[in-house]
Symmetry: C2
């Protein structure tokens, strides 16, 4: 490049209320990267892990449920599910007994893989949490939620 700029923030300093999006994006990217790194050692991607975690707490969720829970579209979730089924980590009936929703369940292999990966992911989350004052954690969580809701969910 030219002057080796450390990539300053977008619109420099009109006032602090700007940049929120930038910082949010940066933090999310860092988290994603860190999770990706540790999960690769377990043969999982972030969306795959998210699905397994969600399914462990709520067995029988449908594809659409998982999509909502991981903040993506049904189509994306469907692709992830196909991968997980391919890997033998989940089961999914070919036909629904009631509606159209096909309830997904973890296989024993899925449980095992999840439990192995979980420790690594929790370690990342710990690292992240210890970086903030601690007294502010609750407020931070509330603010993140408030922002999400303000944007229409």
């Amino acid at each position: 490049m030219e002057e080796r700029v450390p990539v300053p923030p977008p619109h420099p300093a009109r006032d602090i209320t700007e940049h929120v999006g930038y910082r949010l994006k940066r933090a999310a990217a860092a988290l994603r990267g860190a999770m990706d790194k540790v999960l690769r050692e377990h043969g999982l991607t972030v969306p795959q892990y998210s699905c397994l975690e969600l399914l462990d707490e709520n067995p029988g969720l449908s594809n659409a449920d998982l999509a909502r829970g991981t903040f993506v579209t049904r189509q994306s979730a469907n692709v992830v599910l196909r991968g997980l089924k391919e890997a033998g980590l989940i089961t999914r009936p070919a036909t629904a007994d009631h509606g159209r929703a096909l309830p997904v369940h973890l296989t024993p292999a899925g449980h095992e893989r999840l439990h192995a990966a979980r420790a690594a992911v929790y370690a990342v989350e710990e690292r992240m949490i210890h970086a903030i004052p601690g007294r502010r954690l609750t407020a931070l969580l509330a603010d993140l939620d408030a922002m999400a809701e303000a944007l229409g969910e």
Copy 2:
């Protein structure tokens, strides 16, 4: 689905220190979605807008610079740049005079498009900011940065 669960958080309630990743992801997804929606009316995607904004503040950035600034890989940034060039919003020399870096500049059309989209994006950011107490905004920004740095940048 089965019992119409509003998709509860992953690991329910061991203590509040968990879920940070979940909330962060949710907030980032909401922001992304909202920006995507308003930007579509201007014929731009989020990464495209990010590049334009960065270039407006720092003309002559290279592809690699933009990649760092938008938290993606050089390859991803390269694809975005190709799209922007295709749309006539940026210029990029075919050959570098000094190193290998090819300095990118906004065209008049690029400036115009950016200025039009900026208002819409700022409105989204305003909506997001107004959802949090205001007194906590500075702390929130600091915490987001701290988390990003703790995860290895």
